[in-house]
């Protein structure tokens, strides 16, 4: 993250200067900072509402039931999680909300899932394999109906906007599956390299 942050800022200033847009870049610092707080504050109410609903779902045993139903899938995907982890119910709620286009509800569910994953994470500043997988699945943005896109298309007088739904679904499904496979590949590679490191240390100790 350190390099990404450094790259974004230093690279933008240099390119901005070359393009003669340095003033715009300077202005964007202020507007960006303002925007991020606006986004966070606009989340408060939505977040509070859905976290409240989520708590009822948890207390009434709905989440436990969902995680039980999904166990065959989640056990393969999140193989490093304890079997009865409460994160699984939250992850399931996050994906259902995303799939049905309730992106407002999906974010609080996703954050709740992250908190549960953090509970069982050994190093609290480093992302666990389960977290990377969950994040990857989320960035693929799986949804059944792209409501915002449809609204724009209807707005410009597109005759048959729903013909977009099928190809979008196909593409998002491909991206979703590749995210899972890539995350699993990352897990495999990083586990292997950490085993190598431990082995090297053992050799040094001998």
């Amino acid at each position: 993250m350190n390099y990404i942050f450094y790259f974004l800022i230093v690279f933008s200033i240099i390119i901005g200067a070359v393009n003669g847009k340095l003033q715009d870049v300077v202005n964007s610092v202020m507007s960006g900072a303002e925007l991020s707080v606006k986004v966070a504050f606009s989340l408060i109410g939505i977040m509070a509402f859905w976290l409240g609903i989520m708590r009822i779902a948890e207390k009434s045993g709905l989440l436990a039931w969902i995680s039980k139903v999904l166990k065959p899938i989640t056990r393969v995907l999140f193989n490093e999680l304890p079997e009865d982890s409460p994160a699984i119910g939250d992850i399931a709620m996050n994906f259902s909300a995303n799939a049905f286009g309730l992106s407002n509800a999906a974010t609080p569910f996703g954050i709740k899932a992250m908190e549960e994953l953090q509970e069982v994470n050994k190093d609290k500043t480093t992302a666990s394999n389960a977290m990377c997988l969950f994040l990857g699945m989320n960035t693929a943005g799986f949804q059944l109906i792209p409501t915002t896109v449809l609204a724009v298309l209807v707005g410009i007088g597109y005759k048959n906007p729903t013909e977009i739904i099928a190809p979008t679904l196909l593409v998002t499904l491909i991206a979703f599956i590749s995210a899972i496979l890539l995350a699993k590949l990352g897990q495999l590679i990083s586990n292997k390299t950490s085993i190598c490191k431990i082995k090297n240390k053992e050799v040094e100790n001998d």
């Binding site: 847009k21 870049v25 202005n27 964007s28 960006g32 509070a48 009434s60 969950f134 990352g186």
Partner: protein, 177 residues
């Protein structure tokens, strides 16, 4: 089929609310008390993500203001015509992992300028609809729990975005071209 899908998206939220609340009442959960207990965390979570969001959003808006996206686009344009990709959709491919509102803005531009019958509008619609803003998800989800060492998460997100772009081009070429 599409009618059914629209119906599902309209009823998803009401069904979820009725279901959760009814189940709570049946199981004798004090739903009002539990709701307010859960909702209390909303403020805390939103405030927790602010530092992470500021870092990412400022970085991204500086990047966009610098004109780097236009520069990358102008380099890639000759390459695109080979694959039958309209040049108007290029800024969208670059911006969609960075900023959701910008991606939607570019898409509306393309749709309004080129009209409903153009191939570019259809391709852009599929691209926007099939993706989520990787950097935003990263900042919010990892920020909420204070993760700063992200390991391979960003690479996975961006590679999946790239695969999404390629498959959007292939699928649209097959269906609409």
């Amino acid at each position: 089929m599409t009618k059914l899908l629209n119906l599902i998206s309209l009823w998803a939220l009401p069904v979820l609310l009725i279901g959760v609340l009814t189940l709570g009442i049946c199981k004798k959960v004090p739903i009002y008390e539990e709701f307010t207990k859960g909702a209390k965390d909303g403020f805390k979570v939103a405030v927790n993500i602010i530092p992470y969001l500021v870092a990412i959003v400022v970085g991204i808006s500086m990047f966009r203001a610098s004109g780097a996206i236009e520069n990358i686009a102008s380099v890639l344009v000759p390459l695109l015509s080979k694959f039958n990709i309209p040049a108007d959709t290029l800024p969208l491919m670059i911006v969609r992992s960075l900023s959701g509102s910008a991606a939607l803005g570019v898409f509306s531009d393309v749709a309004n300028n080129l009209g409903p019958d153009s191939y570019a509008t259809k391709l852009a619609a599929v691209m926007v609809g099939s993706s989520e803003t990787t950097f935003y998800v990263l900042a919010v989800y990892f920020g909420a729990v204070g993760i700063s060492k992200i390991r391979y998460a960003l690479i996975v997100g961006l590679l999946a975005d790239l695969i999404g772009i390629i498959s959007a081009v292939l699928v649209c070429n097959w269906l609409f071209a």
